[in-house]
């Protein structure tokens, strides 16, 4: 019960205990500040840990095994389709989450970071009213706002139905629906579609754009799309969802095709995964000098400072890309700025990973972006069909692509699709950050036989043929 008479003071309050918030809080504590993390859940970790990155990756791991069990029969390993014991699956997933959450809690204790459960609302820049908390009011010197984002559910889909899911619902896996409609062909929709199709649902994915993962270069998307078309029941592009109706038995969904024709199909569950919006409403920000843009993102400078001199903001609530690692880096920048260090968020590349099967990972500029902005580039590709390691994994469905400056051979962007792309992209990010040249990557020894060699050979392709891929065209 909130007791408005209980006051507390902290030097720095971090609002939101997700990856951005707790990283910022820990850094502040390590730099000697007196910090409190405020989250409306008693478990820290935010969306990422509790209902996002972590649970989805655990489930995707299961999906990968299901696929491999199927592929293994080609290798002389006869397993047959696995039996899914849902409650054991969920117990395992939940245990992972709770162990990690526990870990964050312990890290808070080791650092003397005060953990406050409650909903924070600003009365003014230095005073926070807490709801659902045993503390009524918190006086703070400075704050870092890390309130994250929420799934977007457009008004027409806000029908009061437990058959219409957002990503949080989907990750709780209350059941394995026979027919699942996934609205949205972005990374969340594809990842969850992959999970459910592996668990046994007939997944139909609809996407408004002519391609899934719009914004990602088509040559990379192709590999993912083809696999999704195989695993999903149906992948419908250029398709709009006109209406949803819960009939009690099922959800009747009206789909509108690009030619204007409509059809209504029944589904057991509908997952809406069309994007997320910043969680900046209802926080009392109007009582501070914080400014937001028309989409609700909090405006910040390169030191993560808002328009209010006492308030900083990081993570999903300040803008795209809405990724946990972007939030953590911003969290460190904010903490260092609060400590008076000279710091700036000036990273040249932020990696993005889609954990479908195959995985897709990118960093730096894309071919699309270069074309749209008249940036001259030279692109070098190495198909995984020529990779020894890929062959041992029986996964030649991949490609490593590097985008170079044609004059200096500087690495401007990297795109990888194939198993473990998410791990491989790290070298690409480093190459972009360090302004590495093609010869730096090509001249570095990469272990054999690994998928990382595809990065090296891709770089070699800048100059001409590489060892395992011959092509006639050469460059001085």
């Amino acid at each position: 019960m909130t007791d408005p008479n209980v006051f507390e003071h902290v030097d720095v309050a971090v609002i939101g205990g997700g990856p951005g918030g707790y990283t910022a809080a820990f850094r502040c504590a390590d730099l000697g500040m007196n910090v409190a993390v405020i989250d409306d859940s008693p478990t820290l970790g935010g969306v990422c840990l509790n209902r996002g990155c972590i649970p989805s990756k655990a489930l995707l791991n299961v999906a990968r095994i299901v696929h491999e069990a199927d592929e293994a029969s080609h290798w002389g390993l006869k397993m047959g389709p696995p039996e899914i014991v849902l409650d054991e699956l969920l117990t395992w997933k939940n245990r992972i989450v709770s162990e990690l959450v526990g870990g964050i809690g312990q890290l808070c204790n080791s650092r003397n970071v005060k953990q406050i459960t409650g909903r924070a609302i600003f009365i003014d820049s230095k005073t926070i009213r807490l709801e659902k908390s045993h503390i009524g009011r918190l006086n703070v010197d400075r704050c870092i706002i890390a309130t994250g984002s929420l799934p977007i559910i457009p008004k027409p889909f806000q029908i009061k139905s437990d058959k219409v899911w957002d990503s949080t619902d989907a990750l709780n896996v209350p059941l394995i629906p026979e027919r699942l409609l996934v609205i949205g062909g972005g990374y969340i929709g594809l990842e969850l579609g992959t999970v459910y199709s592996a668990l046994g649902s007939k997944v139909t994915t609809v996407e408004l754009a002519p391609t899934v993962l719009p914004g990602v270069d088509q040559d990379l998307v192709g590999f993912v799309q083809r696999k999704c078309e195989r695993y999903f029941h149906e992948l419908r592009l250029n398709t709009k969802v006109a209406a949803l109706e819960d009939t009690g038995k099922e959800v009747m969904v009206t789909l509108e095709n690009s030619d204007g024709s409509k059809e209504t199909l029944p589904f057991d569950r509908v997952l809406i995964a069309i994007g997320r919006s910043p969680n900046s409403r209802g926080l009392g920000l109007e009582n501070t000098k914080v400014e937001m843009d028309e989409k609700g993102f909090i405006k910040v400078n390169k030191q993560q400072r808002t328009s209010d001199p006492n308030l900083w903001a990081i993570g999903d609530v300040v803008g795209q890309p809405m990724l946990a690692h972007k939030a953590s880096r911003e969290g460190q920048v904010a903490a260092e700025d609060l400590a008076g260090h000279s710091v700036s968020f000036d990273n040249s590349a932020i990696p993005a990973v889609v954990f479908t099967d195959p995985e897709l990972a990118t960093c730096g500029i894309t071919e699309q972006y270069a074309k749209a902005n008249n940036i001259a580039v030279q692109v070098a590709r190495f198909p995984w069909a020529a990779s020894g390691r890929a062959k041992t994994l029986d996964r030649a469905d991949g490609v490593t692509k590097i985008i170079f400056d044609p004059d200096t051979s500087r690495v401007l962007g990297v795109g990888i699709v194939g198993p473990h792309a998410g791990e491989l992209i790290a070298e690409g990010v480093l190459a972009v950050e360090m302004a590495a040249l093609a010869s730096d990557l090509a001249g570095t020894i990469h272990a054999h036989p690994t998928l990382s060699e595809t990065v090296m050979e891709s770089a070699e392709q800048f100059f001409g043929p590489s060892t395992h891929m011959y092509r006639k065209q050469t460059r001085k």
Partner: protein, 294 residues
């Protein structure tokens, strides 16, 4: 597009307050290295210091004014310092009776002027010097870097010092031995004008084997010019004056041109220098000999 600088370089730039966009990268592909960042600061702070100095108007004793030194002057200064500190120099002074030569010059001067040239005493001096250099080859040479041998030049490129607004510049009359007095009289004023207008090419300023500096037009009795390496000798000419000269029986009024030959004493001895200077004087005193020897 992000600048080609690693995160640690960016952090360094930020700490030192350097705007990375203004730093030129010396690394491969134009990468900006931490040293590039530090050098940038050095350059900026030198500039700032100069500007601050320029702004000062007083020192301990009274009013002062700062004046910038042009890059040309700095280069000349460096060259002069280098020469002065490495070459043991001596100047041999002499005089030439140019009464006859001056009469010759006056006779032909308007003809040359009509053709766009200028028949000056310097033109004749060039001719005399070339003739003397042929007889004294060690004055038309360079000391090889080993110090163990002399590189005798078989070509005669005479540098003629020109006073310009920016400082002393020495354009070169290449193969002066192959040019007639008339050709030199046409070439030299044009070259001097081009030099004053700073329009000379690099070729026109290089390759001299011997230099003449004539300050006689301004005045003075004598000066000790500094040898211009890799040359080993230089001639300085001062103002010609009418002087009473004893001809054996009486004093007559003669036009006397004083000059000095500064030479590199590692290569040339006093006696040779005295002979060389005398020979030049002889050639100038007997203009017919210039015609014979040119």
């Amino acid at each position: 597009m992000p600048l080609p600088a690693s995160p640690s370089t960016r952090a360094l730039a930020r700490e030192l307050g350097v705007n990375l966009a203004q730093v030129k990268g010396s690394g491969p592909g134009g990468r900006i290295t931490p040293d590039d960042v530090r050098n940038h600061i050095r350059v900026l702070s030198e500039q700032a210091m100069l500007q601050a100095q320029a702004a000062e108007k007083q020192d301990a004793y009274g009013e002062v004014q700062h004046q910038n030194i042009s890059s040309l002057r700095r280069k000349i200064g460096e060259a002069m310092s280098q020469s002065w500190s490495t070459i043991p120099m001596v100047t041999q002074f002499d005089e030439a009776d140019i009464t006859e030569l001056e009469a010759l010059r006056k006779r032909h001067s308007s003809t040359i002027k009509e053709q766009g040239g200028g028949l000056t005493i310097t033109v004749f001096v060039v001719k005399a010097v070339v003739a003397a250099l042929k007889e004294f080859p060690q004055f038309n040479a360079s000391l090889e870097s080993s110090g163990q041998s002399l590189l005798l030049k078989k070509y005669y490129n005479i540098g003629v010092a020109v006073d310009t607004e920016a400082g002393l510049i020495v354009p070169v009359l290449h193969h002066a031995d192959r040019k007639s007095i008339k050709e030199l009289a046409l070439l030299l004023p044009a070259l001097a004008k081009k030099t004053r207008e700073r329009k000379t090419s690099l070729d026109e300023l290089q390759g001299a084997t011997f230099t003449i500096s004539n300050l006689g037009g301004i005045g003075g009795t004598a000066f000790t010019p500094i040898v211009n390496p890799p040359e080993v000798a230089i001639m300085g000419v001062s103002r010609s004056q009418m002087k009473p000269i004893w001809n054996g029986s009486e004093f007559t009024a003669r036009l006397i041109m004083p000059f000095g030959i500064t030479y590199d004493h590692r290569v040339i001895d006093g006696a040779d220098a005295a002979r060389f200077a005398r020979r030049i004087a002889e050639l100038l005193e007997n203009p017919d000999s210039l015609f014979l020897n040119a």
